[in-house]
């Protein structure tokens, strides 16, 4: 296929598949816990990391990983220890971090096309270095997700019963938001910070319409997510469309079909 004659397309597809897998599996726990807005908030927080990275001339992705993990911990702390309303905390972090990112970038005088590519994804600019960062942090997150899969599932089903059964729920919640933060920071190259929420939430929400058990739902969500990324990227290449937005539109189409064929 001539789509792969360029190295950057190979990089793009590899990065896309890594993100599709990570986003759909981790996103399913977030969706079941009714905590989908966490993904939007952390995506905006990651933008602060990108801004710092650009200004200090470090690789913006790994700075974004650090900043979003630290913020995820702060959010989780405020939520579980201080008892602030979680949706309000998310709203504060979302607009607050966007404001911070804009100020940092404009003070440094680099408010340019490069930042735009982090907002909406620019899969064609995935470098070898990006791919290495994604592979390392991605496999670490995947290992934690697989290792704590049944624990996260139990907590999503009933947090209190999980706690009474002896699970260390608070620690596990910190682990989950940490992985979510890492995955979001990794994926901003592919779909962009304004669009990553879609890739974490919509595959699972679509899969839920088929009313299957958890394992089957996870696999279906994975299938939807990978299909959306591959199809979206191919379409974006063929018709010169922005990649992140095209991926999101494909996953929305899958969602619509899932709703329609499962209606009663």
């Amino acid at each position: 296929m001539d789509i792969f004659q360029y190295d950057f397309m190979v990089n793009a597809f590899l990065a896309g598949i890594i993100i599709a897998i990570l986003a759909s599996v981790s996103g399913s726990f977030i969706v079941l816990r009714r905590y989908a807005m966490l993904t939007e908030t952390l995506a905006h927080v990651a933008l602060v990391g990108v801004a710092i990275g650009m200004v200090t001339e470090q690789n913006p992705i790994w700075v974004a990983v650090i900043v979003s993990v630290l913020s995820a911990w702060l959010i989780e702390y405020l939520r579980s220890y201080l008892g602030l309303y979680s949706d309000s905390i998310l709203a504060i972090f979302l607009s607050g971090s966007l404001a911070l990112a804009v100020v940092i970038v404009s003070v440094a005088g680099s408010f340019n096309a490069s930042l735009f590519s982090y907002l909406f994804g620019s899969i064609l600019s995935v470098t070898n270095e990006d791919l290495i960062v994604m592979a390392i942090f991605g496999s670490l997150s995947m290992a934690v997700l697989l290792g704590l899969f049944k624990e996260f599932y139990f907590i999503a089903f009933d947090e209190e019963v999980a706690q009474v059964s002896g699970l260390r729920v608070k620690l596990l919640n910190f682990m989950l938001v940490t992985i979510i933060a890492v995955i979001i920071a990794l994926s901003i190259r592919v779909v962009g910070t304004l669009l990553i929420g879609a890739l974490m939430v919509i595959p699972t929400i679509s899969a839920l319409r088929y009313r299957l058990g958890f394992m089957k739902t996870i696999f279906l969500s994975l299938l939807f997510s990978i299909t959306a990324v591959l199809l979206g990227m191919t379409l974006s290449y063929q018709f010169s469309l922005p990649s992140g937005a095209t991926i999101v539109l494909v996953i929305l189409a899958i969602f619509t079909v899932s709703i329609v064929i499962n209606r009663k």
């Binding site: 290792g147 009474v164 058990g213």
Partner: protein
Amino acid sequence: MSINFAPAVFEVNNLSYKINGSDIIKDISLIVKKGEYAAVVGPNGGGKTTLIRLLLGLEKKSSGSIKLFGKEQKAFRSWSKIGYVPQRVSQIDQYFPATVEEVVKMGRTASRGLFSRESEQDRDAVKHAMMKMDVTNLKEKLVGELSGGQRQRVMIARALASEPEVLILDEPNTGVDMVSQNRFYALLKELNKEDGMTILFITHDVGVIADDIQTMLCINQTLLSCNNPHEVLSCSEMSKLYGIDAHLVHHHHH
């Protein structure tokens, strides 16, 4: 009355719990012994659920002591000995992706290590719990699609899958039809009599199970009595508990 020499499963001394300075639980002391079937009764808002949540460590006590299996609650680690069935049984949303088997397997989660594969023992415990609660034929179904009575049995099966020594149930029978309820009471009785399971059961329907239980704990902020159910039912504490006009409606079942 015979003296029960069995070891204590729960031992509570002078337990109090306050929110913003007002008493929710005041100075409760009680013992539940191994093999005992105890019902916790009392008016709504009287602190029954709070007492259970304190026992389970879901709320932090203001003062007093709680011992579980002879150990201070803080030092207690063998949580798999306690099977807990909460109140919210009927509130599982219909889209939650969980088959009956997946839910019962959760009962093994805490005792299995990280990354570990399911062992023979895990599989047996799950199978046995599903058989005991008669939900094996439902194992591929989503819990959200079950009737109230079926869900109730699934939640107990999950609690049993951890092979507990004590079962704590917090009124898990709201929205459950009469036939299922009676079947449920019969199952609890069987678990207690035949398997020697210690049971602590919060209920508003104590008349029905009066013949099955050994102890009745009447909670209205404090512990009003802790006695043989037949004595309590006829005693004046009942009117203190439910108000002056209260009288007991006797259910007969065989």
